[in-house]
Amino acid sequence: MSRCDFKIVLLGSEHVGKTSLVIRFVNCRFNSGTPYQNTIGAAFCAKQMQSHDREFNVGIWDTAGSERYEAMTRMYYRGAHAAIICYDPASLASWTRLRHWLQELRTVEEDCKVYLCGTKKDLLDTGTVQREVPEDIIATYSQGLHGHFLTSSKTGENVDELFQKIVDDCVKDLKVMKIVEEARVQLQKEDNEKNKNYCYC
């Protein structure tokens, strides 16, 4: 039972910037001062978004990316409409891991829309770090997918664009929308029944 219309899951190695991406998108901020902390288990956020003049409730799952929880990651991406697989362009290792996530995802959720996201664009732009993942490889790889974005959670660049594209794509997908509508009707029904049976508040 979920009150969200769309479910988006973030995948990728530890430290690539998944949590920062969600915090930038949902809370419009970036914590640069605090030392790195890995995500425990998975974190859930919801945000109201608009597409084609309609309101949608979008649920976002931020996963830990650590080996410890790998066996459990599946339960986070089951039923996901879209997945953002993150890598850090300055880390070849994070790119190599990305194939693993893609494979995993395909075995569990075949129809899930997949978006690649290169993170920490600001660091590339300022020359603080060197790109390790060649752009042409990324271009080739993302051809079969739904999109590729290069984002910065520090400046906010391309973050809203990424999530907006995902929601727009979902809304355009008739198959997805049919399920979303059905779920809404079902929830409405359940709510009505609950209110009849006992006071929920």
Partner: protein, 557 residues
């Protein structure tokens, strides 16, 4: 009856009983949310185990989690989850790692590198620390070092492993500790892990073993015992750090927490003092919201390492040490503050073999209380998320958030904020009280969040032994002082029931009865009679405030 040093005067317990109302057991109640097993008794048995016992003690007993699942008719799901970390899965991941580390080649390797390692052991990162902690696998692979970089400690770990096995193998004996003039090394072998602490603190061997056991439990809490055992059965030489990434921080914090908070010393849980009515409303908000959720095992609300309320499934209680691990998890994890989390959590005392699934979130932006909803159902996130929002709304409407914030901010109007002022016995400098039947504790000067944080920051920079001048003693300093008394009271061979020590620094009275443990620090050179009268008044005050200080019922869903 014990008397240790020259300035000790052992008091006759009967004399005390005459003067103090002995039936007074503040905080006692018939049913407890916590399992009041005394951790000292437990660790005493840990210390007295033989090698044979040790091998059998970690074999897995029945699982409480599957018991619950069977009861609610939902057994298939969880077991399949636990199986997912299957052998092939692990094997595949390790392909890149070279296998085989028999004892012999491990030692050889260490000899080669020994020059460089010796230097590292002398580096400022490692010398002059009050307490080191090393965790390694039984194959001698470094897993955790409290200070420095464990990668560079392979040599030391090899030596530790060799020491442990040299005592074990030919002699069928257990290496427990090594004592030098100013330093104790305490060893604990548990399952596939070896845990060692090298300490210059005044903590006793028992207390140090207790801390190592906590560290072991912290590891079990992120992996489960089943997984930990299986990993090393499959690959004796596995590098556990790959699975623990991020959990080192939990162990770091755990040691700081254990050194500072008397909750560990006494195996008890501190409750956030709240008006009786407020706590009742909070509990009520939880039970009324959650009583329809079948898979929920525990709902726990905490703030600043203090328990606000705990609602449980009938028949099940929590052990204080499991709650301490939850406190530690919440305190050390910033990520819970920004979003609702959903994470597997193993509570080693409750069931070391499997995970519970926890919905973890702070009540609201303006109230730093954290709610943990623990279930056996791994798909329960959304119902629990909804329950949390309903609970938060109820708490806000019934003004409970204000009550919690008042207590957390130590509002001056509350009698529990500065108990010594309210008790009105100026000679009492500090006290710490544990109600045994409910495993709850109260101290006169609860470590405020900021101070623990301060300590943490300072500690991160060093952990060095320093001779600092102390102006005003805090909870932390008094508790450090109580350690030796606590140790005598819990001594296995000759436990003391009452200790009265008066000298020119201070006067300390430590007293244990069937119902409670009490430690009080008075001004120097107090008269015994005078101290006893003060203790009587103190107990009456705690009794008067017990409803506020302690959780006096044991609510279930």
């Amino acid at each position: 009856m014990a008397s240790t040093s020259k300035d000790h005067v052992a008091e006759n317990e009967e004399a005390l009983n005459e003067k103090v109302a002995t039936d007074l057991e503040p905080g006692a109640c018939l049913e407890s949310i916590l399992n009041p097993t005394d951790s000292f008794e437990e660790f005493a048995s840990e210390i007295s185990t033989s090698l044979e016992d040790r091998k059998t003690s970690l074999t897995i007993k029945s699982s409480t989690i599957s018991e619950i699942q069977n009861e609610i008719g939902d057994s298939s799901k969880e077991s399949s989850l636990r199986e997912t970390k299957s052998s092939d899965n692990l094997q595949a991941k390790n392909e890149s790692m070279s296998a085989s580390a028999s004892n012999s080649n491990l030692l050889e390797e260490n000899e080669e590198e020994s020059d460089e390692k010796d230097d590292y052991l002398q580096s400022p990162e490692l010398v002059n620390k009050e307490k080191h902690v090393f965790i390694l696998s039984s194959a001698g692979k470094p897993i955790y070092s409290r200070y420095g970089n464990e990668d560079k400690l392979a040599g030391l770990c090899g030596v530790i492993q060799a020491l442990v096995s040299v005592v074990e193998e030919p002699n069928q004996d257990i290496l427990r500790s090594i004592n030098t003039k100013d330093c104790k090394a305490v060893f604990l072998v548990k399952g596939p892990l070896i845990l060692v602490t090298v300490s210059k603190s005044n903590e006793s061997e028992t207390q140090l073993v207790l801390q190592l056991t906590y560290a072991f439990n912290q590891i079990v809490s992120v992996l489960t015992l089943t997984q930990l055992n299986r990993i090393f059965e499959q690959r004796r030489n596995y590098d556990l750090r790959r699975l623990l990434s991020g959990a080192e921080r939990l162990i770091d914090h755990l040691f700081i927490f254990m050194e500072k908070d008397p909750a560990f010393l006494l195996g008890a849980v501190r409750c956030l003092p709240l008006p009786e009515k407020a706590r009742e409303n909070i509990t009520q908000a939880i039970t009324s919201t959650c009583n329809k959720i079948r898979d929920l095992v525990f709902a726990i609300m905490i703030a600043g390492n203090q328990l606000i309320t705990l609602v449980r499934m009938k028949k099940y209680t929590l052990h204080p040490s499991d709650i301490h691990l939850l406190f530690n998890l919440v305190r050390s994890s910033e990520s819970f503050k920004t979003a609702e989390s959903w994470t597997p959590i193993c509570l080693p005392k409750f069931d070391a073999t499997g995970f519970l699934h926890g919905h973890v979130s702070y009540i609201s932006e303006d109230c730093q209380a954290c709610l943990l909803l623990l279930t056996v159902q791994r798909d329960a996130f959304f119902p629990l998320s909804q329950a949390k929002h309903t609970i938060a709304e109820k708490l806000r409407r019934s003004n409970c958030l204000v009550a919690i914030n008042d207590a957390l901010n130590r509002n001056k109007e509350l009698p529990t904020t500065n108990p010594l002022k309210h008790i009105g016995i100026p000679e009492i400098r500090h006290f710490m009280y544990k109600c045994k039947s409910t495993a709850q504790l109260f101290t006169s000067d609860p470590i405020s969040l900021d101070r623990l944080q301060d300590y943490r920051l300072r500690h991160k920079e060093g952990g060095d032994i320093t001779v600092k001048k102390i102006e005003k003693l805090s909870d932390i300093d008094y508790v450090r002082n109580y350690r030796q008394f606590c140790n005598q009271i819990h001594c296995i061979s000759t436990p003391a029931k009452l200790i009265f020590r008066s000298n020119s620094h201070d006067t300390v009275l430590a007293w244990v009865t069937n119902g409670f443990e009490l430690y009080v620090t008075f001004d120097p050179l107090m008269e015994k009679d005078h101290a006893i009268r003060a203790v009587d008044r103190l107990l009456h005050w705690i009794k008067k405030e017990e409803q506020r200080i302690f959780i006096m019922n044991a609510p279930t869903f």
